[in-house]
Symmetry: C2
Subunit: 342 residues, 2 copies
Amino acid sequence: MSAQDSSIEKVVIVGSGPAGWTAALYASRANLNPLVFPGRAASSDVLPGGQLMLTTDVENYPGFPEGITGPDMMDLFFKQALRFGTRIVADKGIATESEVGLYGQFQNAANLDLSSSPFTITGDNDFECKAHSVIIATGAKANWMGIENELRLAKSGGGVSACAVCDGALPAFRDKPLAVVGGGDSAVEEATYLSKFGSKVYMIHRRDELRASKIMAQRAIDNDKIEILWNKTLIDVLGDDHITAAKLKDTVTGEESTLDLSGLFLAIGHTPATEFLNGQLDLDAKKYIKLADPYRSTTNIDGVFAAGDCVDSVYRQAITASGMGCKAALDAERWLADKGIE
Amino acid sequence: MSAQDSSIEKVVIVGSGPAGWTAALYASRANLNPLVFPGRAASSDVLPGGQLMLTTDVENYPGFPEGITGPDMMDLFFKQALRFGTRIVADKGIATESEVGLYGQFQNAANLDLSSSPFTITGDNDFECKAHSVIIATGAKANWMGIENELRLAKSGGGVSACAVCDGALPAFRDKPLAVVGGGDSAVEEATYLSKFGSKVYMIHRRDELRASKIMAQRAIDNDKIEILWNKTLIDVLGDDHITAAKLKDTVTGEESTLDLSGLFLAIGHTPATEFLNGQLDLDAKKYIKLADPYRSTTNIDGVFAAGDCVDSVYRQAITASGMGCKAALDAERWLADKGIE
């Protein structure tokens, strides 16, 4: 198959959060006509628009001094990528900027075959294509307890969040009692961060010792504003528009109690959307994609690049994910030029 | 000196491009009250607002589907950082959000003493402070020929640019004759990129062979749209609002000629603003700051972080620099928490 076979996509992008759309923006401006599988909200781990679709106010994406909602921001990213020629895999086929409204739901990339080049990507609704290069930008999902009221208040900006760095500085949390659910290093990190804002930060932990490293556990214990509630598990979240309290259950005695709160932060880990790769890309112990060069976006497979939260267990911000999406597109563009694929 | 001595700044940020303001935004939202030395246009390598102050339309910063000018974009970054409590070193002292207009010019960090902690930072106009942590975000300058008309048309968006990836896709360059000045790998990269848009791409090179690696030189030679003009140097740029032609001089015969052009791209290297560090931070061969961990923002000195173009000889985009600024602020925040500095 010739490298110049025009039925082969130059760049396929999987995922449509900040990393995916930024990769699409850069690839489309480089005349690569990228094809994006945005994901599917209903049935997969890859949510079209990414995690920001679940958030309300975004105050820390540079360029919006008054803040912007997550969905509005992703709509701007989407429009910008489409403006320069990005195409989208929808249920009814490939859609361009002018057609997107007609094409209904978007497809998720259900399967990737990276065993030989060009790669084969199969959508979840009757679509298959071949591609010289692929950018994986499928993101990661914050883990939730799975309580109905928790998700309801998270989606509506009602004081429940899975990202203290993103949301902790919002006025609603200033000098108010807050809680973090979890007992690992990142739970302590989030509690420490929140202790700058809240009047008090409870750590709700289901065991009688922290999973956190000793130095991090000591930091929680030494912080006057942090109080660890041992052997407690979250069973419900109370509040109509904004959280007012959490319902807890003692994991030893079974006793139930109510804790007044103005903010609740989940810190029970993230799950990167990498399972669909079926082990074709090298992952780290936490299942994040391992970059071949941590400064760039290359993976263990030549022509496959990765960007955003599916790579990043450290920062997980819209701006960092976008930066990585840009890197992946520029790396793919230079890789294609190296191969003489135009 | 106690770690909690309140006269010691928690974070000082040097530079005010996308990396500097994003670091300030994240550090201020983390309640660290960052202090920024923005730089000084007149007398230093560090331009307040960074390289984007020299550009007109920015179409590739995600979030602005209709594009935005460089100075407007940096104004938004600046306002957003100040909104959350960032302070600025101005000529008349430290300015906060409400005072910034009163304080006249900003200061550049003339000298850093990183030999002992806390570090000492001296401004270029009667200001000195100590800081537990420092973020270096001083950027890099594109090298120019230094011709008056070249800089005039670059600043006014008149078809002269030092970044093909940033500007090459603009409508003014479609199917028009373009030229790249330079003969290294990045000149070939820029010419290859531009060959997707222009009707023709000349490479203006002052010698009779390219400095580019063999594989890159071959790529330029193989590309039908690229024509290399050997032994030519740029001596003037013609055009009132937009470039119409370049004036060249043959470096062997001294003969002058005119080349009709609709776009001119300088690719004669960049100079990172790292000289003021006086060798205190490890630099690479091209004088960019070497990161201790290329995925993060740490340097060879504990408590000193780096972000943006002063680190990056590869991508040099607003979005990548911003992502690095975010990383530096989060790294500094966690480093301070580790040290018990609150």
